[in-house]
């Protein structure tokens, strides 16, 4: 038996890396972002009955298992050419709203709020959720834990398990909802609405009430003019579970609006030699490199992109907040990376309101849970909005429904090029010749990254640590001159 203490930077493997290359003047020339690669998921799936995939895919990500379950369930429906009943669709969506509530609460309070409530250059010892609670009060911390738990209880009830969800089967769902269970969800959803409104008020008080923060959002080194992608309903309102994929250009004009099955006509993936993770881009515009602007093929699929790509929110309070956000930030589209935090809170309100709408819908306790399976089409695409971007599952099977091939484009992968560009822009804006980069500088570079709520546990693999990140600085000769780890 031995007891050891491990320094996470010097001894643990598997960290993410930001490599910053400086020019002769000592300013940032280029930035590369790398994470470890995950291998063999397609091979793992090959030869399995396709109906097993919705349960298997919940294990490829410890952060957004519910999103993979939903995209997979829809792809499997398509493989069998079946359309679930209204009750089944609404139960899936109800589960999904609870998933968004718990995830968006976690991001705001654990990852976004420390930078603003505690301060972007505050000591790392204080710049965390504990520091947030010290500032805003213990009762808020209690509410964060409580509301997340209640959202997870809904997921566990509908999904069979809060993480390893077993809800979706071809053509529908395994289990319905009783009146008593529905009443309980309605009460919880009422609480979500109040808490999401409170969270938005907190954001407005702390962030919008601070001129420096507003200036940082609007004028800091955090803006990229990229195209925006998001799933929309028939009225072009934001929808997380179903609809068409809409892409608007850097001026907010619709470029494309396509059904999920046609995604390969619009999105292509590029491989770069310095990373295993691919770079999706808009196929018709082509890959023009890591550049922003109207001609670029790079797009974003984030909470802010979803709002940019839509004509509004489908629930009343979220719509008010949508209007307020865009009017405050100068109209649509908004390209300020840090405004993703604001957009995420608009989405939190929508999720809470829609959770309530679905729970009070008479169909939700219906008994028709599954449509009959009559054929095997052999190919199917399912697209949902994951918290961190548009999530695509594409399956091919043989005539017995056994998996032949799998293709996934996960939320964070959509944003891979944009994340690299955001990091470069932030580094270029914050690292200046003769001024040593501090821990605060590193954090402010990370803020560009953190706004995306990136999750690489399915894009590649779960990093073994909370933001274990090494930033390496190289001189113009390519020699490592400094390394900052955290």
């Amino acid at each position: 038996m031995k007891t050891i203490t491990i320094d996470p930077i010097t001894r643990l493997e598997g960290h993410g890396k930001i490599e910053i290359f400086l020019n002769d003047e000592g300013e940032v020339d280029n930035v590369y972002f790398q994470v470890p690669e995950l291998r063999g998921f397609e091979k793992f799936c090959e030869g399995r009955p396709v109906e097993e995939l919705p349960s298997i895919v919940t294990k490829i990500c410890g952060v957004c298992p519910g999103c993979h379950h939903m995209a997979s369930g829809k792809a499997v429906d398509a493989v069998f050419g079946v359309d679930p009943s209204p009750t089944a669709k609404k139960l899936r969506e109800l589960f999904y709203m609870a998933h968004f509530v718990h995830s968006h609460i976690a991001h705001f309070y654990a990852l976004a709020a420390p930078d603003f409530v505690v301060g972007p250059t505050a000591s790392p010892a204080e710049r965390n959720i504990l520091g947030v609670i010290n500032k805003v009060g213990i009762e808020i911390g209690t509410e964060v834990i409580k509301q997340r738990r209640l959202a997870q209880e809904i997921q566990a009830l509908l999904g069979g398990h809060q993480t390893h969800v077993v809800m979706n089967i071809p053509g529908g769902v395994k289990k319905g909802l009783t009146e008593e269970e529905r009443d309980d969800i309605v009460k919880k959803a009422e609480g979500f609405i109040e808490f999401s409104k409170f969270s938005m008020k907190l954001f407005k008080d702390v962030v919008l009430g601070n001129k420096d923060y507003v200036d940082l959002i609007l004028n800091g080194p955090y803006s990229l003019k990229l195209h925006s992608m998001g799933l929309v309903d028939k009225n072009n309102k934001v929808n997380f579970y179903d609809g068409s994929v809409r892409v608007v250009d850097t001026d907010g004009k619709q470029l494309y609006r396509y059904t999920p099955k046609d995604y390969m006509d619009y999105v292509e993936e590029r491989v770069e030699p310095w990373t295993y993770l691919k770079f999706p881009y808009l196929k018709k515009l082509g890959w023009k490199g890591f550049v922003d602007g109207q001609e670029s093929g790079v797009y974003q699929a984030t909470p802010l992109s979803r709002l940019n790509a839509s004509d509004g929110m489908a629930t009343p309070i979220a719509q008010q907040e949508y209007d307020y956000m865009f009017s405050t930030l100068g109209g649509k589209p908004v390209h300020a990376t840090l405004a993703m935090h604001w957009a995420r809170l608009v989405e939190l309100i929508y999720s809470a309101e829609h959770c309530y709408e679905l729970a009070t819908d008479p169909d939700i306790t219906g008994k028709e849970l599954r449509a009959p399976i009559e054929k095997i089409v052999g190919e199917g695409v399912g697209i949902v909005e994951a918290q961190r971007g548009t999530l695509t599952h594409h399956y091919w099977t043989d005539d017995k429904g056994m998996v032949r091939k799998v293709n996934l484009i996960v939320g964070t992968t959509n944003n891979h090029a944009a994340i690299c560009m955001s990091l470069k822009k932030a580094a270029q804006g914050l690292i200046k010749k003769g001024i040593p980069a501090t821990e605060g500088t590193l954090n402010m570079i990370e803020m560009a990254f953190r706004a995306y709520d990136p999750c690489f546990s399915c894009a590649t693999h779960s990093l073994p640590g909370q933001m274990r990140m090494v930033v390496n600085f190289y001189n113009s000769k390519g020699e490592l001159i400094r390394s900052i780890g955290r």
């Binding site: 038996m1 031995k2 001894r11 995950l38 294990k59 952060v63 911390g141 390893h164 990093l463």
Partner: protein, 163 residues
């Protein structure tokens, strides 16, 4: 909720379709086959951060089994931590969440009922980047020894009287 007096949770964390990453859940499944004194509960999870908090709350004692990758470690090395000397194992933290220590401090701050005793066992692994249900050959070879280590630790620390 009242604390489950005397209750012990053995929690295996990891992904059982990601080769060695699933060492924690595999150990739990094998330990479950044995007979232990009453008051012990076995669970598995692939989550970290605040998710773990929800799983361990209301137990008196928790033993967490996780994977770890260090630069100098040999496959199958078993490390024993408690929260005071613990930094991070594979799943006790999460890019989208807070790390385990922060989660525990948060729980204390908001007066959540968390275990008085937290033991962490981490096993040095080889392969966690490739999907598959089997362990790497190096870890497979060491597995009986690892299981015995964990079993002995369980008895010596959690059931000293029975051991």
């Amino acid at each position: 909720m009242d604390k489950k007096s005397g209750n012990i949770l053995v929690l295996g964390i990891g992904n059982d379709i990601l080769k060695d990453d699933g060492i924690g859940p595999k150990l739990v499944k094998d330990l479950q086959k044995e007979t232990f004194p009453e008051g012990i509960c076995f669970k598995t999870s692939s989550m970290g951060g605040l998710e773990i908090l929800e799983m361990i709350r209301d137990y008196n004692t928790v033993l967490i089994l996780d994977a770890i990758k260090t630069k100098e470690g040999m496959p199958g090395d078993v490390y024993y931590f408690n929260p005071s000397d613990f930094h991070e194992t594979m799943h006790l933290s999460n890019l989208h969440d807070v790390n385990f220590i922060t989660a525990i401090e948060l729980a204390k701050k908001i007066k959540l009922s968390i275990p008085e005793n937290i033991h962490i066992i981490a096993v040095e692994i080889v392969e966690d980047l490739e999907f598959g249900r089997s362990l790497s050959p190096e870890l497979e070879e060491k597995y009986p020894e690892i299981l015995e280590h964990v079993h002995d630790h369980l008895y010596s620390k959690l059931f000293p009287a029975a051991g």
